[in-house]
């Protein structure tokens, strides 16, 4: 098993006919992901990715015609919140929003509407997820993965690749790697993803990759201390050298009023039983130290 995506995933790519959508849609299909549909308003009836995937005008058409159950959104920032709501209304249960640069206040009602509908949103401004050997949704490079039983959750993109590559190089595979996104308002938090990993019988260890800003790492740590006490847990926090009051690229990565510092996150994670790495390359060894034998 795995979380969020697997062989039962039937993916509709919003914006499949666009530049990003077609590039990554093709990569997902090549990886073996069940890309069953594309959605681009006005291009309904066409076929994308060399004729392999039908395109629909609306998500509800895609769901009705192809049984899509998962969305991956490459729509530009202005239209992405609406696209999330369209997926929710069409009954899609799991929605990945890759789009970056969505105004934060746009996400406030959207996140509430997703929650109200009982759907699950990953992102926005996230790289997606990969369940190695089963499916990949989003933009994470396929090459870095290896099948296995470590669950990886991260706020970041390339930093995640770095960490996952280090694990793969050390012979440690992943059950699912999830990038939850670096925006201030995101659909699923570290905690939400940890809950899924806890319920997944195949996930035997956890890697959490956080960064400065907010308190989501602290919240997840407190929960993990109680619910993942016996699970090997390691973490890395980026931004130890970040100055206060400056947004470090990610809209959410900012220390304000002395809160959201790397130090407070490292302390909370260590108190919760995580081993915290000084560099992503140390993660494999720390997993071993924590008792992971997978």
């Amino acid at each position: 098993m795995s979380i969020l995506i697997d062989r039962q995933t039937r993916l509709v790519v919003h914006g499949l006919t666009g530049r990003e959508g077609s590039f990554h849609g093709g990569a997902m299909l090549d990886y073996g992901t069940n890309v069953v549909a594309g959605m681009t308003p006005g291009k309904g009836g066409q076929a994308a990715l060399d004729g392999r995937v039908p395109v629909f005008d609306t998500v509800s058409d895609a769901v009705r015609e192809t049984g899509a159950n998962t969305s991956c959104i490459f729509v530009p920032a202005g239209g992405a919140p609406d696209s999330i709501l369209e997926a929710v209304a069409a009954g899609i249960g799991t929605i990945f929003c890759i789009t970056e640069g969505i105004p934060a206040l746009d996400m406030v009602p959207v996140a509430a509407a997703v929650e109200r509908a009982g759907a699950r949103l990953i992102g926005p401004n996230c790289p997606g997820a990969t369940s190695p050997g089963r499916a990949k949704v989003g933009i994470i490079p396929a090459s870095i993965h290896r099948e296995g039983s470590v669950g990886v959750v991260s706020r970041s993109g390339t930093l995640t690749y770095e960490a996952v590559q280090a694990m793969t190089d050390a012979g440690i595979g992943q059950s699912t790697c999830v990038g939850i996104g670096g925006d201030p308002i995101i659909g699923s938090t570290f905690l939400d993803v940890l809950r899924l990993f806890e319920a997944d019988p195949e996930t035997e260890a956890i890697v959490l990759i956080g960064e400065i800003g907010g308190a989501a790492e602290e919240e997840a740590a407190a929960w993990a201390a109680e619910h993942l006490a016996d699970v090997p847990k390691v973490a890395f926090i980026a931004g130890r050298t970040a100055p206060e009051g400056k947004r470090m690229g990610h809209a959410g990565a900012i220390i304000s009023g002395g809160s959201g510092t790397a130090a407070s996150k490292v302390a909370a994670l260590e108190a919760a039983g995580f081993r915290v790495a000084g560099s992503p390359t140390e993660l494999p060894q720390l997993l071993r130290d924590a008792g992971y034998r997978g």
Binding site: L159, A215, E219
Partner: protein
Amino acid sequence: MKIQEADAKRLLLAEGLPVPAWEVARSPAEARAAASRLLHETGQVVIKAQVLVGGRGKAGGVKLASSDDEAEHVADAILGMQIKGITVRKVLVAAAADIVKEYYLAAVLDRGARRILLMGSAEGGVEIEQVAAEKPEAIVRIHADPLLGLQDWQAREMAFRLGLGRHLKAAVAIGKGLVRTMLVNDADLVEINPLAVVRGGGAPGAPGGEEQLVCLDAKITLDDSALFRHPTHEAMRDPDEEAPADAEARRHDISFIHLDGTIGCMVNGAGLAMTTMDLVKRAGGEPANFLDIGGGAKADRVAAAMRLILAEPRVEAILVNIFGGITRGDEVAMGLIEARRQQSRDVPMVVRIVGTNAEEAASLLEQAHFETATTLDEAARKAVAAAASQSAGGAA
């Protein structure tokens, strides 16, 4: 994007909030003229340094004056002053209020709750972080419903809990106005500190002597991601406080933050860029900047990033760390080669490119005699060593 107090007050006024009259002056003479127009209100003006950093008061950037002569002298002292490294180029002149009591009120985006938070305290005038640390129970927090918005009853609740029942109507209008200002402008933060009960004078058209509730200071931070739909907001970017490098970075869609170290960093991805800085520090160096060239960075953006880094004379080595995903390693390599060809001064560079098209990148870099590294830790160590030998060389 942070905006100046005067701009923040303008946005509040546009939403109908009570903000006492003010003027902005760029010279002692302008300040004198402004004071002469405002002194009649309460017999005193306050002159405040306009800089985008906190702690202006403590730094001596806020002073009172009781005559136009004094206003001119005070403005002369404040203009040109350095506050946390920023030179004061403008002052705000306003009628000094006869303050009865100060409050704090702000609309902020609460990321954890994923909704707008109206936050208030009867302990106004001091920094809210201090109140939060010393007397957390003195902070009232009311979340706006994510679908319904802030309701009138919530604004009333805030007013009653702050003890502003005597100013109920005004307090409700201000509470709702803060959230509206936030929504209309796509702000992350709209903060009034102090919100004050003042005696007469404070606001234009107010009957003398009567107590009223007014916004004495205002701080607004705008969501950078939403600037695209507020074309007029760009004009509020203060050119006096933006380094040329920051403007250049914005033009090229590069996330760039200047720091005080000697090792320039060029990275793709915000998390990895922070990590690269952290590892430079861990290897004994000091990063000169945070720099994220973003996804799919093309040659011209690499060249621009290089110029940004080299514009800082302190930089003694450059660490390039690229994990190819959307970004193709060979494109970055070609960008680096081109950038080095154009660059004005020769600084040692350590390049690490992994992921998509890393092999093509490696052979390009080898042909061009770049120093490369395999792991991030190794890259950081090499960059720190290069900077050290560079300093040593410079000192020799």
